[in-house]
Subunit: 351 residues, 2 copies
């Protein structure tokens, strides 16, 4: 039997953060139609749309008029999935019909007054404003809520219904499943090996190098060994940082820079405004603020849906929904492709 080669042979990889396996089938990327790269239509979002409820000076559905904001603008979602108050579901002792309380707050953060300016096209100073807003909101909401989820759904293909560059924060009274799993697995790792999982992980990746894409003074951008989405990546601080708001000033400046750079690389992959789900996860807040959370390491995650081109995405359906996640190329192959892309945005190339 021939030797195993990760870029040729099907295997599974283990994600220690969530305790799940992913099937890696690199031979599938060799399908004949892989090479077809279509160009998506150029986006034509106007800089200002007086009908768009996220634009400056526009009246929102609830009658409020947006201020003439100059950098970020934050407000409560007009149609929130979570509300701060409300009656509690009754207790039920049947294990098959369990319900629980769900309160929270949903906030929207516009990144900039211009609708046609995505994060990678913004200047570093304006990105720093976004980071400062994330810090402020995290601190405020974290006082009361157990989990504060910052996330950006970018692109219509990611369910983003408004083209104006913005992100959301959903703060919850409960500890959601996905971060709960990460909490449990990081805790067990710490107890077993005496190290913080992702701190240990980064140290090893910096030696191995094959999955690193970009490095800055304080941050490292890489494709995790266990990546699920084709171009899934993780952004890790070099230092052990529990929560987003624990960054130093220098780290935040550096983050503004590397965020611009990495999102530029993403856009350059298929020369399109690259769709993704971006989010930040660190130690839980609320009642956890006074507990030992040293098993946590802050990490930014990026889950982009595209696989082959600006218009062909990876579908996590059938087998993936029912059995196991599956990918068509290795993490190393994805890292290599991203690593070799220009760091200047394709829209700024000419002139």
């Amino acid at each position: 039997m021939s030797d195993f080669n990760a870029s040729d042979h099907t295997h599974r990889r283990y994600n220690p953060l969530v305790d799940e396996w992913i099937v890696v089938s690199p031979q599938r990327a060799k399908r004949p139609w892989l090479g077809q790269v279509e160009k998506a239509a150029a986006d034509a979002t106007p800089r200002h749309d007086p009908k768009n409820p996220l634009c400056p000076r526009v009246t929102r559905p609830n009658g409020q008029v947006n201020p003439d904001y100059k950098n970020t603008f934050v407000f409560d979602n007009d149609f929130p999935a979570l509300l701060p108050d409300g009656p509690e579901p009754p207790e039920n002792d049947d294990p098959l019909f369990q319900s629980g309380s769900a309160h929270g707050k949903c906030r929207v953060i516009c990144f900039h007054p211009w609708s046609d300016l995505t994060l990678p096209l913004m200047n570093v100073t304006d990105i720093r404003c976004v980071i400062d807003t994330w810090v402020k909101e995290s601190v405020d909401l974290g006082k009361k809520f157990r989990w504060v989820q910052i996330f950006e759904n970018r692109g219509a293909v990611m369910g983003c219904s408004n083209p104006h560059p913005h992100c959301q924060i959903w703060a919850c009274s409960f500890f959601p499943d996905e971060p709960s799993k990460k909490d449990k697995n990081q805790r067990t790792f710490k107890e077993k090996y005496g190290k913080t999982m992702l701190v240990d992980y980064l140290e090893k990746e910096l030696v191995k190098k094959e999955r690193i894409i970009l490095e800055s003074k304080h941050w490292v951008w890489l494709v995790p060994y266990w990546a699920t989405w084709p171009f899934e990546t993780m952004l890790l601080p070099r230092r052990h940082i529990l929560r987003f708001e624990d960054q130093t000033d220098e780290e935040k400046n550096d983050l503004s820079q590397i965020l611009k750079e990495l999102l530029t690389v993403y856009d350059n992959l298929f020369e399109v405004s690259f769709p993704y789900c971006m989010g930040w996860q660190g130690a839980p807040t609320g009642s956890s603020l006074t507990e030992d959370c040293s098993h946590w390491q802050l990490h930014g995650v990026f889950y982009p849906p595209l696989l082959r081109s600006a218009t062909v995405k990876k579908f996590m359906v059938g087998f993936e929904m029912l059995a196991s996640a599956q990918r068509d190329m290795t993490a190393e192959q994805a890292a290599e492709r991203l690593r070799n892309l220009p760091r200047v945005h394709y829209k700024n190339k000419e002139g």
Copy 2:
């Protein structure tokens, strides 16, 4: 504080099969743009396409010529994600870089020679042929493989790349995560309560009635209490059946009938060929064939992506990917809508 009402107040529900919670935000369905129901373009799939590798008599990419098949036709996927043989990944004692063996077989099942005939439009005798093919493949593949996943991705929105009605079977040498969770949770339930979870569950649902959509002599179609996708449903046998192949002849006939009926109801919801991921899950096979699997109950699952109309789907993105699944209406509301739909296919209404 007012009384709790599941159709008005945000809450969470527990899925005991996979040990996960879902946030239910019924107030979100009250967004002003909810009512907009667009009609999708009529599908114009030709009955026979000499270029389609799934059609009878067509030459596939590997040079093989499809037979002039009359009901189902099964063959090995030309670009499989899993292969029966291949070298094993090396062992690694670092818990952060774990890989494992992944072998298997990927089969494609064409339902019928006609490309324009989906399951709900087929006659019951032809659906019975599909069921018999599922049985045969399950038995054959189950002898060797630990897990045999039958699934249909229907519709382009579900990543289905070929309009010819077909499903797939991926058989795996390993026990994938999703059914592993179901195995573990059903086992624990059995140990704790002395009952098979889904058998007990169905008994209770038949009393409560509010989530039942359709009943036949041997099968019950319902929206599970913990449904995640807007119109997610489950098809349960009335009897305790471990695996798909353990059905009696009468149960299989009845299944052909209710399958046609329920898929008709789905198509009638938005008067469109309703996209979904359908799959069957029962006790594991291979080495588990000789083990006690009485904690398992066979169940069919349907995960449809549509939410508001034939063209507006629910996006499981941002918060859902990073924190917790979330839905915009209750399971009971979905069940009621489906229950009230006609049982005659909208395409067969006139004439």
